[in-house]
């Protein structure tokens, strides 16, 4: 291998490391690692609604794929310690400017589910939508601020290239499989995270300043807290939703 090739390879590796280090919370994007961090957990109090098993009998392939472990509705997914999954946590005020996002985000339609259930993109960020199933899907984002569209995607079809221009919380459904439901969350900030099963989030690379951190949950709405970052410290906050069974 020639020296030029080695240098090139090293440059690519360095670039990759820098990009990985710059990621915000789980699912977050490209904010610089330097600066303060706001981390914490999203939880609930009260009794959340009971998620129902989804019967996919009308699509035999998907019913077979989930025969061993049925999937449940995902509008309120809870975890250990009253944690809440699929909550988008982001800087809703005080953001000191975020660079436009250029990397492509991927959404999969697999076994008659949207993966991920909650997907965050920034305005004009490329979004590729794949059909991984051996049958058609019909993706239908019910946008109100952005233009609404609905496209059929047969098995084996190339990915649908999409993007959203304006900030919005967009419910997404499949016109062929009514149980398929997800969200596209379009945020102007690059400081965001989507909580996992443990409800944890981490927003990194925040310059000193006063911020409002907002957590959005599709059924419970939003919870916000103000946080001030003065240097490179990590501030911990907990965002708590009040759950009701219905």
């Amino acid at each position: 291998m020639r020296i030029r090739d080695l240098l090139l390879l090293g440059g690519v590796a360095l670039l990759g490391t820098a990009m990985m280090a710059g990621r915000g919370g789980r699912g977050g994007r490209g904010a610089p690692a330097a600066g303060g961090t706001i981390s914490g957990k999203v939880t609930f109090t009260g009794t959340p609604p009971k998620m129902k098993p989804i019967d996919m009998a009308k699509e035999p392939f998907c019913a077979k794929e989930h025969a061993a472990a049925p999937v449940f509705t995902e509008n309120v997914v809870t975890g250990p310690g009253n944690s809440l999954r699929w909550v988008a946590v982001y800087i809703s005020a005080g953001d000191q400017g975020s660079s436009p996002a250029t990397e492509t985000v991927r959404l999969d339609q697999k076994n008659c589910q949207y993966i991920p259930h909650v997907l965050v993109v920034q305005p004009n960020q490329p979004l590729d939508i794949y059909n991984d199933d051996p049958h058609s899907h019909n993706i239908h984002p019910l946008a109100k601020v952005n233009p609404e569209w609905n496209k059929s995607q047969p098995a084996g079809a190339p990915p649908i290239h999409a993007k959203w221009e304006l900030p919005e919380f967009i419910p997404v459904k499949c016109n062929v499989h009514p149980w398929m439901h997800g969200w596209h969350v379009v945020l102007t900030t690059s400081h965001y995270a989507v909580t996992g099963e443990d409800g944890a989030f981490s927003l990194q690379g925040l310059p000193p300043g006063k911020y409002t951190v907002t957590a959005w949950q599709e059924q419970f709405g939003t919870q916000s807290q103000d946080v001030t970052i003065t240097g490179t410290e990590t501030k911990t906050i907990n965002l708590v939703f009040k759950a009701t069974p219905y």
Partner: protein
């Protein structure tokens, strides 16, 4: 040429008749109480229409064979009075046949669609939407919750627009995408459409009924044989119409009670 035409017409007639006589594409085995009457009517219709079909086609073949290749120069004899009386007579004959079939068949049709349901029927709500069917049972309290179209939300499987936060009756309603019923028990479906026209068709039940948005259409039947059968939409309702289907599961009373218990536990 006339003789060839006669042979072709005769072959087509005999093959078509054989297909019907042999029941090659006959409906599947009936599983309903009213099915035998429907099948009887269907047979009557097929036999009467079939006789007319065979007679008219063979007559056509006979005339083509006899006179098709005639080259003796004699003028062709016309129907008395010309073409107009011939067309009028044909319309009257065919119209009389159709009217007679309608008149005779309406009795059977009315016995299925116009008769009142059994007062002890199992009542099930059906919601048809692009592109699925959903079925609602009243739950242990025996009462259906009120529906509010503005609350319909697929994300949390609220396909009927129930309001469990404020409506106690709605809290135990069972909503499922398959129709489970006990065998030999009258069933009354209350059919709703969320968006456009759909249709409920189960060939084995010998029943087919459209959904119309804004109307609650009753449909009642009694299934007589356990098993799993396909429910299909037979009104072209949009892009995903081809995939709009569900399953009917006819169970023994014990199986049905067990199924209900399982569904109640999931609420």
């Amino acid at each position: 040429m006339g003789k060839l035409f006669a042979v072709v017409v005769t072959i087509i007639t005999l093959v078509a008749t054989a297909i019907f006589v042999a029941h090659v594409w006959w409906p599947p085995t009936d599983i309903s109480v009213h099915g035998p009457a429907i099948d009887h009517q269907l047979r009557e219709t097929m036999v009467s229409a079939g006789i007319l079909f065979v007679v008219s086609q063979l007559a056509l073949a006979l005339f083509a064979w006899q006179y098709g290749d005639r080259k003796d120069g004699r003028p062709i004899k016309l129907f008395p009075g010309g073409a107009t009386p011939m067309v009028v007579l044909a319309i009257v004959l065919v119209g009389a046949e159709i009217l007679a079939l309608t008149f005779v068949g309406s009795k059977v049709w009315a016995s299925v669609f116009q008769s009142p349901p059994d007062p002890n029927s199992l009542v099930i709500d059906v919601q048809a939407e692009q592109f699925a069917f959903y079925f609602r049972y009243p739950g242990p309290d025996g009462s259906f919750g009120a529906t509010h179209p503005e609350l319909i939300n697929e994300a949390n499987e609220n396909y009927f627009g129930l309001d469990p936060a404020h409506d106690v009756d709605a809290r135990d309603d069972i909503v499922v995408p398959s129709l489970a019923i006990p065998v030999n028990r009258p069933v009354l479906l209350r059919m709703h459409a969320k968006d456009v026209n759909h249709s409920f068709y189960v060939p084995e039940l010998r029943i087919q009924q459209d959904f119309v948005p804004g109307l609650v259409i009753p449909l009642h039947f009694t299934a007589t044989r356990t098993g799993k059968y396909e429910i299909v939409c037979t009104q072209l309702c949009g892009l995903g119409h081809y995939n709009m289907r569900a399953y009917l599961e006819v169970m023994s009373p014990e199986q049905f009670d067990q199924w209900l218990k399982e569904k109640v536990a999931q609420q």
